[in-house]
């Protein structure tokens, strides 16, 4: 049984995916089948601010969310998290397995290793633990942004 009692989110650490070096990274809880998350990702890229991506993938919200989150972690094992992140958000109409394999081919991700890593329970554990952390901090939707230690759904100024 998970502990879902209140707990603020933790700071950026070595297990996080961080892009950019401009100031403190904006921590975003998001999932890859969520259109609002894609819009937020584009706004962050356009702003040139640094960002830390964490998964808020729930089966109750999207049948694809957890699967895509694990796939992105699999890509991360080959150093391709952000490339895979951008690819998924750029085309959310093609998120089934054959489309993911096609993305791997285009991005130069070793498909055999990608498929093997997707089945590693450690990746599922990471995705689940980040969702739990978001719920403990009060997240009620995606994307959620950490501002002054608290989660909010409004895009931060």
């Amino acid at each position: 049984m998970r502990d879902l009692s209140s707990l603020p989110v933790g700071p950026v650490d070595s297990d996080d995916h961080v892009r950019g070096t401009a100031g403190d990274a904006l921590i975003v809880y998001a999932e890859f089948s969520c259109p609002e998350c894609a819009v937020a990702a584009e706004r962050i890229r356009a702003s040139d601010r640094s960002v830390c991506f964490r998964h808020f993938a729930l089966e109750s919200r999207s049948a694809l969310a957890v699967k895509l989150a694990i796939a992105s972690e699999s890509a991360a094992r080959q150093g391709m998290f952000w490339e895979f992140h951008d690819s998924l958000f750029a085309d959310q109409g093609r998120l089934d397995d054959p489309h993911l394999w096609q993305r791997c081919e285009l991005l130069g991700i070793d498909l055999d290793r990608f498929e093997a890593d997707r089945r590693d329970p450690l990746l599922a554990d990471k995705v689940a633990s980040q969702a739990t952390a978001a719920m403990r901090a009060g997240a009620t939707g995606a994307p959620s942004f950490v501002v002054s230690g608290s989660l909010q759904q409004d895009f931060p100024a």
């Binding site: 049984m1 998970r2 879902l4 009692s5 209140s6 707990l7 729930l58 089966e59 109750s60 919200r61 969702a131 719920m135 403990r136 901090a137 009060g138 997240a139 009620t140 939707g141 995606a142 989660l151 759904q153």
Partner: protein, 153 residues
């Protein structure tokens, strides 16, 4: 309007169940109950809230606690909403007279004529154990608050 306070015996009220029967204060007896008041079925924000609560149902209901969602929508709309989302949380309708039960709990938002966003935990003796009223209907209570409320009650 103030949310119903802990240790208050829940007064008489009546809500509509999805099967057309009534849900009253008598249905609160014999088990711990979480009532989730939310503004509207199918509004994007409410959708997210109930989906997150659904994710935490194993933890919420672990000790036999029962959870219901309450809004001023008609039962037909609530059922369609629940089925559309795949959300198993039973819906209770405060449709007619509109908001009457929500007012009993202090969970009605008069300025917009809708249920406010509130949480009430009632003990098996029908007394309020814990309650929470959001500062505004746009302020979504996370599921962590329910878990904290259950732990404190």
């Amino acid at each position: 309007m103030s949310i119903i306070a802990p240790d208050t015996l829940v007064p008489s009220f009546e809500l509509g169940r999805e099967d057309g029967t009534k849900f009253t204060e008598a249905d609160l007896l014999g088990k711990r109950t979480v009532l989730v008041f939310y503004p509207f079925a199918f509004s994007p924000v409410c959708t997210s809230q109930l989906q997150v609560y659904t994710e935490a149902l194993p933890e919420i209901t672990a000790d036999g606690t029962v959870i219901y969602a309450v809004s001023t929508d008609a039962s037909f709309s609530q059922s369609a909403f629940r089925e559309h989302l795949g959300v198993p949380i039973e819906q209770l309708s405060d449709f007619e007279p509109k908001g009457a039960a929500s007012k009993v709990f202090g969970a009605y938002f008069e300025p917009a004529g809708m249920t406010n966003r509130a949480l009430v935990i009632v003990g098996d003796d029908g007394r309020v154990l814990w309650s929470y009223l959001a500062e505004s209907p746009g302020d979504l209570p996370g599921v962590n608050l329910i878990i904290d409320g259950l732990a404190a009650s």
